[in-house]
């Protein structure tokens, strides 16, 4: 077990190293666009006009952005910084990227956790009922409901909700379900914060819940066919005890892994909802950094942070899996 964890941690570091290298190289394919855009504000200024002035500007900007040294030197600086926990400074704001990410991590994590809670609260009863009452009308209805939310993109659900509540919902509903221009953190103004989080949490939670529900249903169906469940029935136990204590407990183990994997994806999964509901999270931050004038350190930083959370949550999930189900053996 110990050897397994050590090996996995080492492999995780290898993966993170590869991710960091890929994103570094990808961004260095073409640096001219970034330099030209940044040089735009300097041309005509202190460096003078004309072709020579523009060239001079580019030189200054390259030095400012740290793009004037050779590629191996840049890579070395970047990697040594990374090992010391320094993700560099944003091109645009000049602030340390790690600090900027920390400021924006709160809303993203909060939204992700709320979504998972909504998803579990909806999916657990729905998944159990539709497995226990397999092929009844209620099963068909619940399965259609889940396939519907699985298939329909969250931003489409969000937009339709906004339109419907704004046009037909009256003041309160549209106030609760529309996008908010002002956002307050959970600690400074909890009421306002919950108001801003409610709609994206519910909508994202429905989408995630659909995935969990389908998976839980298939797991329950599998477990309900097992011998020990039949034994429980023949012992004359009540339905409730069989389903909750015998079946659900075993069906939940793989579902927990799925929930863990979904948790790993929350940082990157909410980009669209964050931008629709103007939540100042990591998704919003990185989309801005990528789509506008590419801000290299920000892109590198977010990609690395996302990769780190992803691989370590996966490791945690695998360890928990073995702890919950002793039949699993690591190799």
């Amino acid at each position: 077990m110990q050897a397994y964890i050590i090996r996995r941690v080492l492999l995780n570091f290898l993966v993170i190293f590869l991710v960091a290298t890929f994103v570094f190289l990808a961004l260095r394919i073409d640096t001219s666009t970034v330099v030209n855009r940044a040089a735009g504000s300097c041309i005509g200024g202190q460096a003078g006009n004309g072709q020579a002035g523009a060239e001079e500007c580019r030189k200054i900007v390259r030095a400012q952005l740290g793009l004037d040294t050779s590629l191996p030197k840049q890579y070395w600086d970047y990697m040594t910084g990374l090992i010391q926990g320094d993700l560099g400074h944003s091109f645009k704001s000049q602030n340390a990227v790690l600090g900027e990410i920390k400021d924006r991590a709160g809303p993203t994590i909060e939204l992700g956790i709320l979504q998972i809670i909504v998803a579990i609260v909806i999916a657990t009863p729905v998944g159990i009922i539709s497995a226990v009452r397999q092929d009844s009308w209620i099963d068909y209805f619940l399965r259609f409901f889940s396939i519907f939310f699985l298939g329909i993109p969250v931003f489409v659900v969000a937009i339709i909700t906004i339109v419907l509540t704004a046009r037909y919902g009256g003041g309160t509903l549209s106030d609760w379900f529309g996008p908010h221009s002002d956002y307050a953190s959970l600690t400074s103004d909890p009421a306002k914060n919950i108001k801003a989080m409610l709609a994206p949490a519910l909508i994202g939670g429905l989408g995630t819940g659909a995935v969990i529900m389908r998976f839980l249903r298939s797991q329950m169906l599998e477990v309900l066919r097992q011998d020990y469940v039949r034994t429980a029935w023949s012992k004359g136990l009540r339905e409730r005890a069989i389903i909750v204590r015998h079946a659900l407990k075993n069906a939940l183990i793989p579902v927990l892994t799925l929930i863990g994997i979904l948790l790993g994806g929350i940082v990157s999964g909410n980009v669209v909802l964050e931008s629709i509901y103007t939540i100042p999270g990591i998704g919003n931050y990185v989309v801005f950094a990528v789509a506008q004038n590419p801000d290299f350190p920000v892109i590198q930083g977010v990609v690395i942070v996302v990769a780190v959370t992803l691989v370590f949550i996966n490791l945690l999930v695998d360890i928990t899996y073995g702890w919950l189900d002793p039949r699993i053996r690591y190799s």
Binding site: V15, G151, V163
Partner: protein, 332 residues
């Protein structure tokens, strides 16, 4: 498949050959609709999308380009459209007829610049579909190729490839997509083929993972062992014994992936419309309509509905296909 081929063997042989065959095809379709109603809805939606892409082809051949020449010959304007997607309509006073409600002329109304929304949706279908198809061609070709190699050879090759795939999969997909499209060293402006390539690259790890797991199971089959015992080379074993037996899984991955690619392409259009070439695209339509969507919901809801319907259709069709071809396959 196996069931259907068993039916003629059980039923007493009929003297005529042509007529019952046609009847059994219809009966097969009817049986499918009854047994998998959701799958049938999915195939109906996919069929309608394909219908929307059909135009009267022109004899102008050349390298495939998107959106007008996706298969190497030029597709004419879609037969389902009534007006050109770029035509602006004016009223008697010379004003743009913007945000009109649906009418018998404009089935889905008009957008801000007075263009026919139905025509834009139909043209958007062609664009989304072919971008997705080309993306999946790339993703399945490369992903399945890498998956077969890593699954078949195993050992250090597998370890190295799996770690590389882990690294690629740790990239947030949407961000990787925007990044590739922004860097784009191939063309000067936004280009649909570059978007298809980007979508394909982002999709490689998930395809590779599924294919690899299927290959791992297939490799242990006795017929593969037999082939190796009689001296088949690795290449021959892969080509004639492994690949034919994983084709079903590849087809399922391909069809399910198209829905994912359509969703990703329209999400990209919605988030960063300037990264896509101009023209009728569902994502760009939604992004254009979004600022005024509460006052004029028509065009926005039409685009949102089209995206939702297409993604839902491919999901349902892919699910049904999996149930029929390979129920044990685990996706994602």
């Amino acid at each position: 498949m196996a069931q259907e081929s068993a039916i003629p063997a059980v039923t007493p042989a009929a003297p005529e050959t042509a007529a019952p065959r046609r009847g059994s095809a219809w009966r097969g379709i009817w049986k499918f609709i009854r047994k998998k109603p959701l799958g049938a809805i999915g195939f109906a939606i996919v069929g309608f999308l394909l219908l929307a892409t059909i135009g009267v082809p022109k004899a102008s051949f050349g390298w495939p380009s998107l959106p007008d020449r996706p298969l190497g010959f030029e597709l004419g304007s879609p037969i389902l459209q009534r007006y050109s997607p770029e035509q602006n309509f004016y009223n008697a006073r010379g004003r743009v007829r913007s945000f009109e409600s649906p009418s018998s002329n404009h089935w889905l109304g008009t957008d801000k610049s007075g263009r026919d929304v139905w025509a834009r949706i139909v043209n958007g279908a062609r664009r989304s579909l072919f971008v997705a198809v080309w993306a999946l061609v790339l993703a399945t070709a490369l992903g399945a190729g890498i998956g077969v190699v890593s699954g078949y050879f195993g050992k250090w090759m597998d370890t190295v490839i799996q770690r590389l795939m882990d690294a690629l999969q740790s990239f947030p997909p949407l961000i990787a997509l925007i990044l590739i499209v922004t860097i784009n060293p191939l063309t000067s402006g936004p280009n649909l083929f570059v978007i298809a390539i980007a979508l394909g690259l982002v999709g490689i790890p998930s395809v590779q993972r599924i294919v690899r797991s299927v290959v791992l199971a297939t490799r242990e089959q006795q017929y593969v062992e037999a082939a190796r015992t009689i001296g088949a080379t690795d290449l021959r074993t892969m080509r004639y014994y492994i690949i034919p037996n994983i084709m079903a899984s590849i087809i399922i991955v391909f069809s399910t992936g198209i829905g994912v690619a359509i969703l990703a392409e329209s999400t990209l259009g919605f988030i960063a419309p300037d990264k896509l070439p101009e023209g009728p695209s569902w994502g760009i339509m939604l992004s254009d309509a979004y600022p005024v969507i509460v006052d004029h919901p028509g065009p926005g809801l039409a685009a949102a509905g089209a995206i939702a319907l297409a993604v839902l259709g491919f999901n349902l069709a892919g699910d049904a296909l999996r149930d029929v071809l390979d129920p044990r396959l685990r996706l994602g």
